[in-house]
Symmetry: C2
Subunit: 183 residues, 2 copies
């Protein structure tokens, strides 16, 4: 597993990494316990302030930690971490220390008690704006973003259902065709 | 531009197509006028009932049509439609008939007044559940899904920012590693 140096990214720009729809790892902490969950149901909601929305099932162990602490970190794994991401989704934080079991390194966040995951390409520190109970939907504000300095386009993985993942493919610029305000 | 025959897909299974994060085309209609917009900020929120959430800026012409009609169709274009998707994002439905300008074929929906886009790989008929004004966020229920019979994994495109799109890459099955309830 590689780890690379990271830079601060303006939080208004995190959509570059979340908008393509990668599977993410959500880390959380409450009363001295940490957890990690694998998640695919998220969307960018705004870039100034920088907001992310995501659905978390109330039966997930992370649900309680995030709801109580009002915060989490959203970490983007690259394809070399797919076995860990699947393994994290297969077990419950109620009985497993996932950082230890999957040999992932917790790194202190700047604005959260929840740890960041060092081995992930990007780490977004998130504070809860509102929990919409009707939909089990969390609206977060991203207050700090750390992103690996290279590569520019990480190889992420995306869930297709039935156990199949799509690995991010080639990148093509259509910049010349687009209105500047749509970039 | 190819069009292929479509089958009905159980609405509980549409997440297979939306969860990887493709750019979608949203079609709408109100008082005899139709429109199409290009959108990347969406998420699956539930599969039974089948719910999708998406952010739509109130300055988009489609915002008014969707809010008034309480419905839209979410259509998934494949990579051969990327020029059309960019062109649709570059102009406003206030002054342009986008079906005509981009030579797209409107197809009547079963449960909506909004037309489906024939050339898209998948068409999801959506009814508004709730509009969350604070976030300009629409929660839709998918009431009918039409999906091309082949290929199983369409070549979708995903936005990376700065005019760069990621084209969906190879598909790898990790089914044997996953808990059945996570499939």
């Amino acid at each position: 597993m590689k780890t690379s140096s990271k830079k601060d990214l303006p939080v208004s720009q995190i959509r570059r990494f979340l908008e393509p729809g990668p599977i993410v790892l959500v880390s959380s902490a409450w009363k001295g316990k940490t957890n990690i969950m694998t998640m695919g149901w998220h969307t960018v909601m705004e870039f100034e302030p920088s907001r992310i929305g995501c659905y978390i099932w109330d039966q997930n162990h992370s649900f309680g930690l995030i709801k109580a602490s009002k915060q989490c970190a959203i970490n983007i794994p690259t394809y070399d971490l797919i076995s860990e991401a699947i393994g994290i989704g297969n077990c419950s934080g109620a009985s497993v220390d996932k950082f230890a079991k999957f040999a992932l390194t917790p790194v202190p966040a700047q604005h959260l008690d929840a740890p960041l995951i060092k081995e992930c390409f990007a780490n977004f520190e998130c504070r809860l704006v509102e929990f919409l109970a009707r939909y089990s939907f969390f609206v977060f504000e991203v207050v700090k973003a750390h992103v690996a300095t290279a590569p520019k386009y990480p190889k992420t993985f995306h869930y297709r259902g039935e156990g199949v993942f799509m690995v991010s493919g080639r990148n093509v610029s259509f910049r010349a065709l687009m209105k500047p305000q749509n970039l």
